[in-house]
Symmetry: C2
Subunit: 263 residues, 2 copies
């Protein structure tokens, strides 16, 4: 099934920043030879998962996802369950709120919902942002309540540096994540972007494993201990609400760590 794996990897190379990619570039990014890449693209194109820009001959994601996303959402609404909860967080904080999901194998979380801040100076969260696990509050919150096995799978090798604050040392990062586990929520102070402060809590699947995280992102200039305490409480309760709405089972460790915060 290596072929399917390669095809899926090709699809995941597209992003809002790079919505159209040429054949050579795709082959290089996916580390597959050009002929193989072309064959995969033709197979994906047949089912409308990939389409070609008729002028430039570059490739882009096709319309097949629109349909499958509709099927998925109409039967297991997730984005639409999460959306009002994010809106409420923004009403309560005037800051950006966002939710993201893990695939269980990738080292990024994928944003599936964003509610923009109402203030002039704000953290802008992209609609389809990828959140590196080790550099975001969402990632730390997710990892803190994941199984040891999953942690070991997802956190290894060299950790990319995004700012001077990104924790790139595996041992230091582990300590940071353990701290999030003890507190019951995670913070990130400018580890992904200078000036941005994140505070996040994980939501859980039916087995009590985190499936993603919900977060509030604020300019660091507006943060202090009092706001951190308030945001922590709001985000923890939002995470519990999301877990329950999606039929998930909130882990006992999470409930215990947050027992003072749960309303």
């Amino acid at each position: 099934m290596q072929t399917v794996d390669k095809a899926m990897r090709l699809l995941n190379l597209f992003s809002t920043e790079q919505p159209e990619i040429g054949l050579s570039e795709l082959a290089r990014m996916a580390n597959i030879d050009k002929a193989g890449t072309r064959r995969l693209l033709v197979a994906l194109q047949k089912h409308a998962f990939i389409e070609q820009n008729l002028d430039s001959r570059d490739y882009r994601l096709g319309t097949g996802f629109l349909h499958l996303a509709r099927v998925r959402e109409s039967t297991f609404p997730m984005a639409s369950v999460i959306e009002p909860i994010l809106r409420k967080l923004t009403q309560q904080t005037e800051e950006a709120a966002h939710a993201s999901l893990s695939s269980g194998v990738e080292t990024d979380l994928l944003t599936i919902g964003v509610s923009a801040s109402t203030r002039a100076i704000r953290v802008h969260v992209q609609d389809d942002e990828k959140l590196p696990l080790h550099a975001t509050a969402s990632g730390c919150a997710y990892l803190a309540f994941s199984s040891e096995e999953r942690y070991q799978t997802l956190v290894k090798g060299s950790l990319t540096s995004y700012t001077q604050e990104t924790i790139c040392d595996l041992q230091k990062f582990r300590t940071h994540v353990d701290g999030a586990f003890a507190k019951g929520y995670a913070v990130s102070n400018q580890t992904l972007e200078e000036g941005a402060f994140g505070i996040a809590a994980p939501f859980f699947d039916a087995l009590g494993q985190p499936s993603g995280a919900v977060a509030i992102a604020s300019p660091v200039s507006r943060m202090d201990d009092e706001r951190e305490a308030l945001f922590a409480q709001l985000v923890v309760n939002a995470a519990i609400e999301i877990s329950k709405s999606l039929g998930g089972k909130v882990s006992d460790a999470f409930l215990l760590a947050n027992k003072e915060r749960i309303k």
Copy 2:
């Protein structure tokens, strides 16, 4: 790339009617042996395109689509371009309006937008309906302005009967489609569902080939020649608007056949 093809076929077996499917049933539907089906599912699961119901062990579409659909829509908005045009059609007619897309290889069009009728007696269009080409106005409109080659690829073998009115004879169907080409739009009188009347026009891609169709669906009891003429005019102009919004080139044959209707 047969493997990729099989994996994509598996994904397309899921629908609102059948959102969760067990392994044996999936293998049977896809006509792949069980071991092979399981391997494909594991590969798809790894990238969150498939997930498993933890109780029943049945499979369902994963959350991977939510992200890729967001990337696609944020860079090439299609659903969101089409939505207000459908809403306007419903305002003008009080009937359901919907838009659907072709993958270019499947014999169904996939619904990507629906605007519900405002009347008590209405045609209900499912959010993720699959429209068989030969049994719907959308399908006929799409085929009428497609290349001969595409027509031959998509219309062959035995045509499924849905009602007593479904045209299942290849020769008769060809005549029906030629009629739609001459008129500039297509109608279907209870060919998919008893009591439902459809009227549709294709929209076009940058090469002047149809990529899908926009349609109005009304109870047949409310239809007469006058309403057909009005709906034809509205749907043809909506199709042109959609084509232009998506950077498409409306085919000359379509413009010519509809020259009296274009506003």
